[in-house]
């Protein structure tokens, strides 16, 4: 029992090997090597951790604990709101799980050639979807991407205000606010929210015109918006921003880009968005990622906080090589003088994204966009037929829409609790963040929802609100 058994993860966890190494360096004990750590720094009370488990015990412990979860395989799920249930092709998972890249670090182009090429193919394919030439390596989320893009715009313009659409995910807005710094900070960027039309969910352009001014570094809006609405005034918004000398930053869900115009086509200067829908599981929220893209102009390139992968030539004629570009301007290169900061992000998901985009191709994106539109609109129309239930913006949306239960006298929390008995996760409750919609929920319908699923939802909802 007290006998030392070597640990399976540590090849040198064998007393004889340790002694060999101690002998080689002429040390009497391992403790000697920690001489510089004063006694006063050492543990004041002994470390108490749960006992070490063998793999079979560990596996069972984890499986049994996780079995307390309910999943979206078991439940019909209509939650989206920044983390969406799209089909993830099995080939994507197979590729992304390969130990070769999971265990890679940041070696030389020679040791990481395949991974670097894959990252380049992520940027390149996203660039085709966005019709933009400059795409950075991904950042940690859409909100993070928006935050960095706003800071880029502030540095580029030397201005200190940003105009942000109010129909935005409150979590994302909170991230943006953290990136814009509190008012006490000297470089604080003031976030000005611009209203939306309560009838259509579209941006109120009059309000926008009133807010944009000479301190405006950028106007930021999204399409589809958080409320699902396809903001189609992009060209007008960009014109207003540009007229004031501000940058136009657009946030997009890239899975819409087979059917929706690329933001650059209606005037975007910087485009940000999420990478999660492109082949990444929801992972309880751990699947999110963000991107930043722009025209390939030095003015923009020099402000990116991200790493870049560039294709280049090698010592061998006709061979492609791939390496980190513009590394020197990052926080790795310049510490506090660098562009914001970079570090671990979600690069493995960039591999998933690359595989996903390659599998989809132009037609796949068109097909999936159309299917989502069809099924989401079908769902909204059927739901709107339920007594007392209203769809706030019944047209011009992509995959999400606001369902208003106020007329039923039931709260969203109530409805969702009741739906769980039907094996359904109802939409995201908006009643706290958007009280103006009353008891409303954001429903998400994607290509994974069949007509039968949607009818099952409608039946359940009908029963629940009729109670």
């Amino acid at each position: 029992m007290t006998e030392h058994v070597a640990h399976r993860y540590m090849a040198n966890s064998v007393p004889a090997i340790k002694q060999e190494m101690l002998d080689a360096i002429g040390a009497g004990s391992v403790a000697e090597l920690f001489d510089q750590v004063p006694a006063g720094h050492r543990l004041a009370y002994p470390l108490e951790l749960p006992p070490a488990l063998s793999e079979s015990e560990l596996r069972r412990h984890l499986v049994e604990t996780l079995s307390k979860n309910r999943t979206t395989e078991q439940y019909l799920n209509f939650l989206g709101a920044g983390c969406w249930q799209h089909h993830v092709p099995a080939a994507v998972d197979e590729v992304v799980r390969r130990n070769e890249w999971l265990t890679s670090v940041s070696g030389e182009p020679s040791s990481d050639h395949g991974r670097n090429q894959t990252w380049f193919e992520y940027c390149s394919q996203l660039g085709e979807l966005l019709a933009m030439d400059l795409v950075g390596m991904p950042v940690r989320s859409w909100g993070v991407a928006a935050g960095h893009a706003i800071r880029m715009a502030a540095r580029m313009t030397g201005r200190d205000e940003v105009v942000v659409v109010r129909a935005i995910d409150p979590e994302r807005l909170s991230v943006i606010r953290n990136y814009c710094e509190p008012v006490e900070m000297p470089n604080h960027i003031t976030v000005q929210l611009v209203d939306f039309d309560p009838e259509t969910g579209l941006m109120d352009l009059d309000d926008l015109r009133g807010i944009v001014g000479e301190r405006t570094a950028a106007v930021y809006f999204e399409t589809p918006s958080y409320l699902g609405v396809i903001e189609h005034q992009g060209a007008e918004i960009a014109a207003i921003a540009h007229a004031a000398g501000a940058e136009t930053i657009v946030g997009v869900d890239p899975i819409s880009l087979g059917v929706l115009a690329a933001p650059v086509d209606y005037g975007a200067d910087i485009v940000v968005g999420t990478t999660q829908p492109l082949g990444v599981h929801m992972n309880t929220g751990g699947g999110v990622g963000g991107f930043i893209a722009s025209r390939d102009e030095e003015r923009y390139a020099r402000q990116y906080p991200t790493l870049f992968i560039s294709i280049t030539e090698t010592a061998q004629d006709g061979e492609y090589g791939f390496g980190l570009a513009l590394f020197a301007q990052t926080s790795y290169g310049l510490r506090e003088q660098g562009r914001d900061w970079t570090g671990h992000s979600v690069y493995m998901w960039a591999i998933a994204n690359a595989v996903y985009m390659a599998l989809m191709g132009p037609e796949g994106f068109k097909d999936v966009g159309e299917l989502i539109l069809q099924r989401a609109h079908y769902a909204a129309r059927r739901i709107a037929t339920i007594d007392g239930v209203r769809v706030a913006f019944p047209s011009g949306f992509f995959k999400e829409f606001v369902v208003d239960f106020t007329g039923t006298g039931r709260s969203v929390a109530d409805v969702n609790r009741a739906l769980r008995d039907y094996g359904i996760f109802g939409g995201k409750d908006l009643s706290r963040d958007f009280p103006e919609f009353g008891q409303s929920a954001l429903y998400c319908v994607t290509e994974v929802h069949t007509q039968a699923d949607l009818l099952r939802l409608v039946d359940a909802l009908s029963e629940v609100v009729a109670r």
Binding site: L33, V37, H61, K68, H113, E181, P182, N283, W341, R420
Partner: protein, 508 residues
């Protein structure tokens, strides 16, 4: 053979994935798809994505994975703790209970995950002495930013934020501390090293004032040097009203030896994708910087926090003093799960032994490496043993043979040894390198690593061209780094590459 870029592959009309058609009734009800999209927003062009079949895509990327060395070779990447990524952790993290769950599901339907996260929080508290951990930060730098955001909220709550606009760090603390402090709006004061390899207490005292918001520091630093005066540092900063943040990125040599809170720190962060065995994924993530802090700072951490009321686990969103969100949702759950699994496999004894082995192995390597011609050590005269890594220099080799660290890195890959890490910027010693032995690799692998460097040294002194033109044995030859810094030639996408190549008048 040279693997083509995916955008060169394919044939018009080929498909890699089938998307079903909408059901007839659905089509009938919603009518023409085009009418569902406002005219101004309809996509007119066709994105120039590749058109390839599923097997073509799969095998393309599998081949590329094979052209990635990772731990298939030996990888001792300093400041980054190469660690075994247990396969059981991966297997569990890819189960549908994890992958197919939505973060906004009702807490009742996520009890398994919440329990594991909460258990892990408890374990990290034990390891650090802190009172609360959050996992929202998507990496170590993100955790440093979290620390800055908490620092702001804390000082703001006391009305001192405007006054406290400085953060102090050291030159061998990871750059992300300085960078996030600056991005958070602070002025950064960077202390330089003394001859012992760490900044003097006097230098700190000179920097501290009533403008000090916080100290952000690691220990041991990125050269494996431990600062024995850290208790005094914390006292000096606290006395001035500042907070102390311990960047525990280099925790591997310290596990089970010290606790940040007991030394006086107010907050710390662990990198679950390094020290706790989750994959590093190309220093790319998904990752987690677990941020922990004292009870005093806990009200200010990002929301939500995983809590337990004795019966049920829940997400506590109701935290009015919170600094807000650092990132959407509540963290990279699969990474937290893997880290929890790792520590459950190790236990307290395993963790302590890992720390012992990593320090022992580093000192063993030092013995071998310093015997190699052209290799020297930073702060050569400092007598205390380095901990889990050591900073070396190839300045002498460069001077005597013209072969520098970049050449050696490239040549190493020819032997299946992943390119070693040099040093973060700025390079305090010329031609630096920093291997970190860790506890995963056996002595045989360490001996191989030393032998490879010894052989390259011999080559450098006998036939330097071999080293300077390396790699010779890899999927790719040496790349043109200069082009990647030139706006006319860099190409971060295939479309940029095609455009610029066209401009050059070359090929296509």
């Amino acid at each position: 053979w040279n693997e083509p870029v995916i955008l060169e592959m394919g044939y018009p009309g080929r498909r890699g994935l089938a998307v079903p058609e909408a059901e007839a009734e659905v089509r009938a009800e919603v009518g023409d798809v085009a009418d569902l999209i406002p005219a101004a927003l309809r996509r007119q062009d066709r994105p120039a994505l590749p058109e390839v079949s599923e097997p073509e895509v799969l095998y393309h990327y599998l081949r590329l994975s094979q052209q990635t060395l990772g731990m298939m070779g030996i990888s001792l990447f300093g400041t980054c703790t190469m660690k075994y990524n247990p396969q059981v952790n991966e297997a569990i993290a890819w189960r549908p209970e994890v992958t197919e769950a939505h973060p906004h599901q009702d807490d009742d339907t996520l009890q398994g995950t919440l329990e594991l996260v909460h258990r892990f929080d408890t374990i990290l508290r034990e390891l650090s002495g802190m009172d609360q951990f959050v996992f929202q930060a998507g990496g170590g730098a993100d955790a440093a930013y979290t620390s800055c955001a908490v620092t702001r909220a804390y000082h703001a709550s006391r009305g001192e934020l405007e006054q406290r606009d400085e953060i102090i760090t050291t030159i061998q603390t990871h750059p992300s501390n300085a960078a996030t402090a600056a991005a958070a709006g602070f002025k950064v004061i960077t202390l330089m090293l003394d001859e012992d390899g760490y900044p003097s207490l006097d230098a700190l005292k000179a920097a501290v004032s009533d403008r000090t918001a916080a100290l952000m520091v690691n220990n041991p630093d990125d050269m494996g040097v431990y600062n024995p005066e850290m208790r005094e540092w914390v006292r000096v900063v606290h006395d001035a009203g500042g907070l102390c943040f311990y960047d525990s990125a280099n925790f591997n040599g310290m596990m089970g030896k010290i606790r940040a809170r007991e030394i006086g720190f107010d907050a710390c962060m662990f990198m679950l994708h390094k020290t706790f065995g989750a994959p590093k994924s190309g220093v790319g993530g998904p990752a987690v910087g677990a941020y922990g802090c004292s009870a005093e700072l806990a009200p200010f951490v990002p929301t939500p926090v995983v809590a337990h009321d004795g019966e049920r686990y829940y997400l506590d969103h109701d935290r009015p003093k919170s600094c807000g969100k650092i990132r959407e949702f509540w963290g990279n759950v699969p990474v937290v799960l893997k880290a929890y699994a790792w520590i459950r496999a190790m236990g307290a004894e395993g963790v302590a032994e890992a720390s012992d082995i990593s320090v022992l192995a580093n000192n063993y390597m030092e013995q071998g490496l310093l015997a190699i011609r052209g290799v020297t050590r930073s702060h050569a005269d400092a007598t205390s043993p380095r901990l889990e890594m050591t900073r070396y220099s190839l300045a002498r080799m460069k001077e005597e043979t013209g072969v520098g660290v970049h050449d050696v890195q490239n040549r190493m890959t020819d032997f299946g040894v992943d390119a070693m890490w040099t040093s973060h910027e700025p390079w305090l010693v010329p031609e630096p390198f920093t291997p970190e032995a860790g506890e995963m690799y056996g002595k045989e692998a360490l001996d191989t690593w030393i032998a490879v460097l010894a052989r390259i040294s011999e080559e450098a002194y006998s036939d330097p061209e071999i080293v300077k033109t390396a790699p010779h044995n890899q999927a790719v030859h040496r790349v043109d780094h200069e082009a990647m810094e030139d706006p006319e030639r860099w190409a971060m996408t295939w479309r940029a590459h095609r455009r610029k190549r066209r401009t050059d008048g070359a090929e296509g």
